[in-house]
């Protein structure tokens, strides 16, 4: 895939990988064990400009193209899926706001998000509405006599909610979908950490309980009636690109760990890499890595080119890399044998984290449903 990158993109990818090698990989196991990423790590990400990568410079962002954004996620995904989750949700909130926010909202919220002084979290999923986002039960009502809304409901599995300073909350207002910014310190908002996940253990997930939470009408993003059709898709699009590329990074991690191990580990007189069955596993891993890289690049390029097929391309990239990452992580553990299931090897964490990739930003089954319909529908438009 390297040949598809411009020289500046290659230089940024090298910078990102260097950042991860120094600041992420040596510490990711400890964060996973402690189920927390230290604040100073987030500060380093922010100082490098990695928390506002695609936001316009006018608001303090880096204004990088989406291919570069994908490379950043890939590099971070190699080191820690949980840390990449911070960038995922930050981008989902900030890019939805950049597209659909009022000028006043952008002036207030985007600069601190772009500089990483504030983390945003995307509050869409509910106990009764995961992938079925049209079943939202969270409700906004108009406060009598005041220019505000009253919010009641529960959001669950919200990535980075333990750390976020602002939430983009989706619900219903007078039977129409609505998205609204809710600051963390708003009275009536209770944040309950969700610990002991199988993977993504330091991504700071939480449940949000809103009990008569009052928010200004001015915090509505977009217009009522368009939250699910227009606001959420912009965020989810960046979420899927981020997750696809993060899974690609995890896949690269599995590949690099596996070939390094296979080249030196000996059984009798042969290295593991000389065994045909191991070569089969590595062949599949390396080919998936290349194919996933091409799909991710295509998704990012079509986003940069603002082409309508970007949605289909992004679904394919996320669907492919997340499934390939699960397979690669399973095989990477298998290749290492007993040492692969111990915390001293990153592949055991990759194995646990990879499964999460198949679930977040739409399960593989939801992707199959959407992509399968798109592909079958094409048959009706084939030349007769």
């Amino acid at each position: 895939m390297q040949h598809l990158l411009t020289d500046p993109q290659k230089a940024k990818h090298a910078e990102f990988k260097n950042f991860v090698a120094l600041n992420v990989e040596p510490f990711a196991e400890a964060w996973d064990r402690e189920q927390r990423i230290p604040d100073h790590v987030i500060s380093k990400l922010a100082a490098a400009g990695y928390l506002g990568p695609t936001l316009p410079r006018d608001y303090g962002g880096q204004d990088w193209d989406v291919v570069t954004f994908g490379l950043l996620n890939e590099a971070l995904g190699r080191g820690s899926s949980s840390l990449t989750g911070v960038l995922t949700v930050q981008s989902m909130v900030s890019m939805a706001l950049a597209k659909w926010g009022t000028e006043e909202q952008k002036k207030i919220w985007l600069p601190p998000l772009a500089k990483g002084e504030m983390i945003g979290a995307f509050a869409l999923t509910e106990p009764g509405a995961g992938s079925a986002i049209h079943s939202l039960a969270t409700e906004f009502t108009r406060s009598s006599g005041r220019n505000s809304l009253v919010l009641n409901g529960t959001k669950r599995w919200i990535t980075c909610a333990q750390r976020a300073g602002v939430f983009l909350v989706f619900g219903k207002l007078e039977q129409r979908s609505v998205a609204c910014l809710v600051p963390r310190d708003t009275p009536g908002l209770q944040i309950e950490p969700i610990d002991d996940l199988m993977g993504f253990r330091s991504a700071g997930l939480a449940q949000l309980v809103f009990s008569d939470v009052e928010v200004p009408v001015a915090n509505i993003v977009g217009k009522p009636g368009f939250a699910l059709s227009h606001v959420a898709p912009v965020g989810l699009q960046y979420g899927r690109i981020s997750t696809a590329c993060s899974a690609l990074g995890l896949l690269r991690g599995c590949f690099e760990e596996s070939i390094a191990y296979a080249a030196v580990r000996k059984i009798d007189e042969r290295t593991v890499g000389e065994i045909g069955m191991i070569r089969s596993l590595i062949a599949r891993m390396g080919t998936d890595l290349e194919a996933g890289g091409l799909l991710c690049h295509k998704a990012c390029r079509t986003e940069d080119d603002h082409l309508p097929e970007v949605f289909e391309n992004t679904l394919m990239a996320k669907y492919f890399t997340s499934i390939a990452a699960v397979k690669a992580a399973s095989d990477a553990v298998q290749i290492r044998g007993a040492s692969g299931v111990h915390g001293s090897s990153p592949v055991s964490r990759f194995y646990r984290d990879s499964k999460i990739m198949e679930i977040i930003e739409g399960t593989s089954q939801i992707h199959e449903e959407l992509l399968g319909k798109m592909f079958v529908d094409r048959a009706h438009r084939l030349p007769k």
Partner: protein, 90 residues
Amino acid sequence: MTSSSAAQESVVKDTVRRFILSSVNVVDLKDDDHLFESGLVNSLFAVQLMTFIEKTFAIEVGMDDLDIENFKSLNAAAAFVVRKNGARAG
């Protein structure tokens, strides 16, 4: 409506019609057919259509433009694009 804007609307309608017909299973699409209420397209298609219009006609759809009246039919979309282009030129 001036003859110039009428001609622009006609071009926009034909272009958007071709995009919709190439994207969804519809044999024919009349200028006033309601795209969303009639079920011709689903809500997933709404952002794709908006992205196509933004890219093809070099306009940016913003928060103030979020109105189903702007996208409900070919006639509505064409009038919206011509109005946005006019506002930009003005």
